[in-house]
Amino acid sequence: MIYFIIRRLIMTVFLLLLVSMITFAIFFLVPRLAGQTAYQLAAQYVGRNPIPSEIKAVEVKLGLNAPLYLQYGRYIKGIVAGIHYNNGTDISYCPFPCFGYSFRNQQPVWPQLISDAPVTLSIAVGAAVLWLIGGVSIGVLSALRRGSFFDRLSMGVALAGVSLPVFFTGLIALELFSYHWPIFPNVHYVPITENPLLWARNLILPWVTLAFLYAALYARLTRAGMLETMGEDYIRTARAKGLAERKVVVKHGLRAALTPIVTIFGLDLGLLLGGAILTETTFSFPGLGQFTILAIQNQDLPEIMGVVMIASFFIVIANMIVDILYAVVDPRVRF
């Protein structure tokens, strides 16, 4: 198992390096191939009515005048060893892992990512717990009571959940439960370190909104998986052996049906940790999703690079954890 994990960790590093190369190429190489010069790129970050010498100064300061391979090398060096940058009055050190500094606000990217990550983490993990428990439970019950009123109702609600976007359900939730009936008034992010109760109270609506979407999906997946599994011969055998129905369902039915759920859960959670863009925007929570939108709006390349790298990191790590769990659930995967 240890070798398996080490192997996956090494692969993860290579994968992230590959992502960094591709991302860097998309934002720095492709425009150049399309004819954009470093001077033109620098002109985007020098404000209004600049004279050529001012653009040139910005080009030099941002390092855009260097060959691309050197720029990339500098970027990677910053991530693994930190880097110095000029803030005007003196030279500041941006320590490991420095993802460069913003072309717009001239602040290091990493501290901004780190400051936003807890918000996204709070939303994603809380919602994930809700949707996993809710979705899987409903899926199991629906499968066991196939064709019943509960099954039809829950699958109907699940269909609505899958169909309704977060920005719609979120706004409805806010309108109803924050403004019309102020059960959760003035929803805004409060750090857990500041006030755990307020943290949770303010996150309930985002959690429920996000979980509604995913729980619906998971309920349908679980139901389909359970229906298939519960029809297998070994389930019949288990029942024939006289095992309690609960044991048959949980140990033999659900465990087998969970394999695809674990896979998709890892991917979903990894994606969300990179930024729950719609949820954060709807509830005005300052997480990685909002950071991403701002970075794109400002065409702030280092910030975009940073958020892509952190999102990739979460996805790759989530996948690795899924693979490890797979190995636990199904030992054949280890070999």
């Binding site: 020098v46 009515n49 004279i51 100064a57 000029n86 803030n87 005007g88 706004l171 924050s178 701002l294």
Partner: protein, 588 residues
Amino acid sequence: MKRRSIIAATAVGAMSALLISACSSSTSSSGSSTTPTTGAVAFNAGISSVVNPSSTKGGTLTFDVRGTPDSFDPGNTYYAWVLDFDHLFTMPLFGYKSCPGSCGLQLVPDLATDMGTTSDNGLTWTFHIQPDVKFENGTVVNSQDVKYAIERTYDRSVMANGPTYYQALLTDPTYPGPYKDRSKNLMGLTAVDTPNATTLVFHLQAPFPDLPYVLAFPNTAPVLPSADTGSNYQLHPLSTGPYMFKSYTLNKQLVMVDNPNWNPATDPNAKQLATQIIVNMNVNQADIDNNLIAGNADIDAYGAGVGPAAQARILGSSSLKANADNPVNGFARFVYINTKVAPLTNLHCREAVEYAANKTTMQTSWGGPVAGGAIASTIMPPVIIGYKSFDYYNALTQPAGDVTAAKQQLAMCGQPNGFTTNMAYRDDNPQETAEATALQASLGAVGIKLTLKGFPSGPYYTNFAGDPAYVHAHDIGLAGGGWGADWPDGYGFLDELLNGNAIAATGNTNISEINDPVINNLFTESSKLTGDARTAIWSQIDEQAMKDAVILPAVYQKTLLYRNAATTNVYVQAYYGMYNYAVMGVSS
């Protein structure tokens, strides 16, 4: 120098605001000093009077804002709301008198003691600053701190966002800024002398009577050289205003508290009523509107008005409406008519466009009479000093378009059946897109066939509408646009739009390419005049440009602002077109 785009509108400094009715009913001339009136809580009460006047100290004043500031470094900002907000922690040389109505257009000394004196035929300006203003750390402000604040703006690699007037106006335009070689360049700007601790002498390349307006930008707020942290200064600028930074999480939340070294006697245009000020950033507009109505937030700092859902809700409720104001601000929406693209080279063809356009559908495109604006018949909006009302093309009397007059002009132009031309517009701006479509329909009614050419906002003025070579090569006769001035007089509004000198090969602001000697001479004349004589020139230029039919006015922009009922001392500051943040308090 000025800007012109919807982005610029938000990023730009100077906005003036006033309700048309307030303008027309006011007997005081612009710039006159009046005692602020107090008004009951009512719709539009905040435009001409102080709503909820109070001197009670206490409470937390909460601002929500969509997006983020360009920077809280006073030397590195151009966003309108930040220029307004900066007065809570800065004292520039000049400011706009804190009062409602047209009084709020009056430029007054802030850190300076008077409006300055000129000599050397207007090439030298001398200003004195107050001797007893202190930074938040107790250090007394001196003239070198102001000079240093100006020096910083010269380094665009650190200060990219702010205006760039100093390089254009002052001698020593190649000064590199104080950062590159600090030992050599600190206090190295030769265009500004500091003969003593309270005197500043500015040397200009050419006479420029509007210099005090330029010095009203927050980039003249003093910066202590030893406290300057370059690009990090935005995280904690050293305050000279009533509040100072307590904490600032970049682009998320700012918390400010009382500045113990602020003396109200030195800063009559600001107050220190709330004990704490919080700015929540990146809040979406729907949330902001709901928070304001629910009382969770006090003011929408962005100042561009509530969103469509809240508009309907506020206007449909008498109690909510009483907490709203609907001012005209200093921004105008219009369509440039190019004088170098045939057949619009002919005055009568341009006049046909002016007559045929349906101003009502254009107004609807911009959001209607409340959220869009009032139908315009002039280039300058009513809130600009020097504005005069006239209506050469029946925009106000026949807003649906004067088809008869348009056809007469087409006949005189030699195109009795109409003609074909192209119109550029920003296709990522839904309102401008709607305007182009509406104009296409109304011009089509008289035979003018408009082919619409959509472009992205980013390079719109650099690569397309603002590039005369591109415009000529692609027969772009009309181009959508808008404009807000950096300061509220006719020069600030009209110079870049209509002066023949402003025609440039790229980034052109005179998109009509009007090079009328009459207009050019009036601009030249204006630099030799002051006072009422100078003010009178602006309407002459506006009228001449409308006679030349080089701009098709659409609307004088309006916004629907909402004030939380708990806020005190609330009114629209005419210069900004939004509430005056420097004087507000909160009752609970």
